[in-house]
Structure formats: C-alpha cells, structure tokens
C-alpha cells in the first residue's frame, strides 16, 4: 500500500489520461490551478474546495520559543499560517482505502 510520492507531473498525467489534453497544456493547467489557490491565500482569502477540503489562514500572535540546541529563549514573531481542513469525503476515502471497511466485517 503506497509509499510513493506523486508530483505535479503525476497530476498532469491524470489530466492527460482523463481529459485527453496534450501533456504540456495539462502541465500548465495544473500549475494554474495551484497558483490561483496560492494567490488567493496570499491575499488572505480562504479557499474552499467541496469534496476535497478547505484552506484557511490563521493569525498567530507573538510567543516565546526556544532554540532547541542552545536552550536560549527567542521571540517568535506574529505570523499568518495556513491550515488545511480535509472534507469528510476525503477522510472517509482515506480510511476506506487504507484498511477496507472495518465496519462491514463486524
């Protein structure tokens, strides 16, 4: 079960296979999808993709961190972080795919 790493090229290949577009155009489309999402998030706007999940932005305040090597205290500046919330559909498919429907066996 798995252990492989997929990249942009694999996503483009899926577009070639399923939609029948040329490879270079498929690559451009994958890139465009990712950059549209990135641009939105960089502007601070959340992105919701039904049946996949949603990307949101969370504002973090300043806090005290520690250099794990020296033990020295260092301030961590306020920042914006990205959070991804998977949809229930994604969660279900991942559990179904990994171990089969356990429920059915009971």
């Amino acid at each position: 079960m798995g252990g492989k790493t997929l990249t942009r090229a694999d996503l483009a290949e899926a577009v070639v296979r399923n939609v029948g577009l040329p490879r270079n155009e498929s690559q451009e489309l994958v890139e465009l999808v990712l950059s549209e999402i990135s641009n939105c998030l960089a502007d601070g706007e959340p992105v919701k993709l039904s049946s996949f999940g949603s990307f949101g932005i969370r504002q973090k305040g300043e806090r005290v961190g520690r250099n794990p090597k020296t033990g020295e205290e260092v301030p961590i500046t306020p920042r914006r972080v990205l959070i991804f919330r998977p949809s229930n559909i994604m969660k279900d498919r991942i559990n179904g795919g990994q171990k089969g429907r356990r429920r059915a066996a009971e």
Partner: protein
Amino acid sequence: MIKSELIQRISAANPHLYHRDVERIVNVIFDEIVDALARGDRVELRGFGAFTVKHRPAREGRNPRTGEPVPVEEKFVPFFKTGKELRDRLNVPKKKGH
C-alpha cells in the same frame, strides 16, 4: 474562493476550453490527490505544499459524560504541510520595527 469560482477563473484564462472540460480538469486534479492519499502515497507540490497521511493507532478513549472507556479504532488522517514559497508569501515582511 470556492471551487466554482476557481473553475471560472481557469476558464477565463483558457477561452479555447469548454467550461465543462475545465470542470473535469479541476476535479481530476483533486481526485488524483485523494486517490494517492487513499493508497497511502504522498503528494508533494513544490512551492505549494505536501499532502501526507498520518497514522493514528487504536487507543482507549473515554465517554466524556460517563467516564466509561471505549475502544477507538486506528485511523488514517490526511495532513497538509505548507510549502516554503507559499508560507513566505503569507508573511511578506511589511511590519515596522524589527
């Protein structure tokens, strides 16, 4: 932005494609990511981020109302780690002082 708006924008940038084909393209991309995760693979999109699956072993949970122990099955949860480029873009330095 929601999925239909994403499709709209991709469509606008590719007037030679049918709207319904753009819809299929966008869905194929996200389905491919979910399929990969369901197989236990990871998806690494440099500059954007990486989707992985984390294993949560079975554990003994508790019914918070009664305190009664209940078995919680092992499960796999999807996880996203933001890529460096995107992380940097979220925090473009424009702060004053330091």
